[in-house]
């Protein structure tokens, strides 16, 4: 199938882009990587009358460290840019670890992080990573400019807090707490397939070797990436030994209720939740231990 006809613009400034979006509203779609949009257009599931191409915008492929040790990532940063970024490998190893699970290299060479987040596929890895990191999302329109927390951004399947005419123009990953350990794990049928289950976790230890902070998020577990505050509560102040990890895994399987899909049952997804929670926490705490002693 071939896409339906559309009118096309490749603006040279964000202001021009946002003005065009304001003028055409829902008739216009943004085109960044196109790795989710173009397939839906090829199927004619989407038939936007107007396509606004971001790829000629200047200065949008930045990956910059902030003064507090966070990282800001621009709208044209491709997944492959994140994969090869030394900045991110150093400051946010969670993102570096997760990015190779995103589709295949050919997709990663075009797809953008911001586009992936705005698309909000429940099976996507990076939304869960941003949720685990407590990231912030910069939304701009011709008449507005605001930042949205990750915990407020993902509303439902393919639905975000972006309002009409808003564009996700950058995201910020906040600095990890000192001495943190992180881990991203995913199970899929073949490399590059959609996640059957994925987990992203950030933990840190206090001086006594007990859990100080923890955040854990899942993809492919519901209509949005999901946090597991019950798991976090079960770990708070506890030494992360095998008993605590087993407890956390059990808690996760109770708290997270995946719907199942054509590829696997909800019972199997629950099983994966428990197993991956235990493994990811074990690795993340071990890394925290190493980082704390450095």
């Amino acid at each position: 199938m071939k896409p339906a006809p559309f009118r096309y613009a490749a603006p040279r400034s964000i202001e021009e882009l946002l003005a065009l979006k304001a003028e055409h509203g829902d008739d216009a779609k943004f085109l960044a990587g196109g790795q989710s949009l173009i397939p839906t257009m090829n199927f004619r599931l989407a038939q936007p009358a107007v396509l606004l191409d971001l790829n000629t915008l200047p200065d949008q492929n930045f990956i910059v460290e902030t003064s507090s040790g966070g990282v800001r990532i621009g709208a044209l940063v491709r997944h492959s840019d994140i994969e090869t970024s030394e900045t991110i490998a150093r400051s946010h190893p969670l993102a570096h670890e997760a990015i190779r699970f995103v589709a295949h290299p050919q997709i990663r060479n075009r797809g953008t992080l911001c586009g992936n987040l705005a698309h909000a596929d429940p099976a996507s890895e990076m939304p869960a990573v941003m949720l685990a990191l407590g990231g912030r999302f910069h939304a701009r329109s011709a008449v507005s400019d605001r930042w949205i927390d990750a915990s407020d951004f993902f509303l439902s399947i393919f639905t975000t807090a972006l309002e009409e005419n808003e564009m996700l123009c950058e995201v910020e990953m906040p600095p990890l707490p000192p001495g943190s350990g992180t881990c991203f794990l995913e199970v899929s049928r073949r490399p590059g397939d959609f996640a059957m289950m994925g987990v992203a976790t950030v933990v840190s230890l206090d001086e006594a070797g007990r859990c100080a902070e923890a955040r854990i998020a899942y993809c492919s577990a519901g209509e949005t990436p999901l946090l597991a505050p019950g798991v976090v509560a079960s770990l708070a102040g506890e030494e992360p030994d095998e008993t605590a990890l087993l407890n956390a895994a059990r808690q996760a399987a109770e708290e997270i209720d995946p719907p199942g899909n054509v590829h696997l049952t909800s019972a199997y997804q629950k099983h994966l939740v428990a197993v991956l929670t235990g493994r990811a926490l074990r690795t993340a705490f071990a890394r925290a231990n190493t980082n704390a002693s450095q």
């Binding site: 196109g34 397939p39 191409d53 790829n55 290299p105 060479n109 075009r110």
Partner: protein
């Protein structure tokens, strides 16, 4: 500002082309129909099979997931550009011949372009790394074993260790 037709100016296999097209024209169709380079194949048109994989600015991408206007100002390499001008095969092509790495050949151009870029980035790739790097390209004929053997041979030859 909004166009119904756009000009695409691009270099493909070292040769410059300039065409006026509808913006909805997929890069895969532009290459095949407008430029007559039919070595790039179309299998699924939604990015999962890999038959349409080409190099854009030396990076492997799905030609079916780009619109032709997005190639404006960029350099493209297709399977037609893999061998030398005088017909001398690329080491990857020789290895696929030597190891019988293809049957019907439909997936092969996409695999060769993907592997060209992969080997350039991973000149000492292991079999495990090769298998993972191939996971974005589907083959219905071979069962992949000879494809893997061919790439292993190409790695050893390009690395000069054979």
């Amino acid at each position: 500002m909004l166009e119904e037709l756009v000009t695409v100016s691009t270099v493909v296999n070292g040769k410059h082309y300039r065409r006026i097209v509808e913006p909805r024209l997929l890069l895969s169709d532009f290459i095949r129909h407008d430029l007559g380079l039919t070595g790039t194949h179309v299998g699924c048109e939604h990015g999962v099979c890999g038959a349409c994989t080409i190099l854009v600015d030396e990076k492997p991408v799905r030609a079916c997931l780009m619109f032709a206007p997005q190639a404006d100002g960029h350099a493209i390499e297709t399977i037609e550009g893999l061998a030398e001008e005088n017909g001398e095969l690329h080491p990857l092509q020789e290895a696929f011949r030597d190891k019988h790495g293809l049957q019907c050949g439909f997936c092969t151009p996409g695999i060769l372009m993907t592997m060209k870029a992969f080997i350039a980035q991973h000149p000492a790739a292991t079999e495990g790394e090769i298998r993972e790097a191939l996971s974005g390209n589907l083959c219905r004929c071979t069962g992949y074993q000879n494809i893997v053997e061919a790439v292993k041979l190409a790695v050893s030859r390009i690395g000069g260790s054979s």
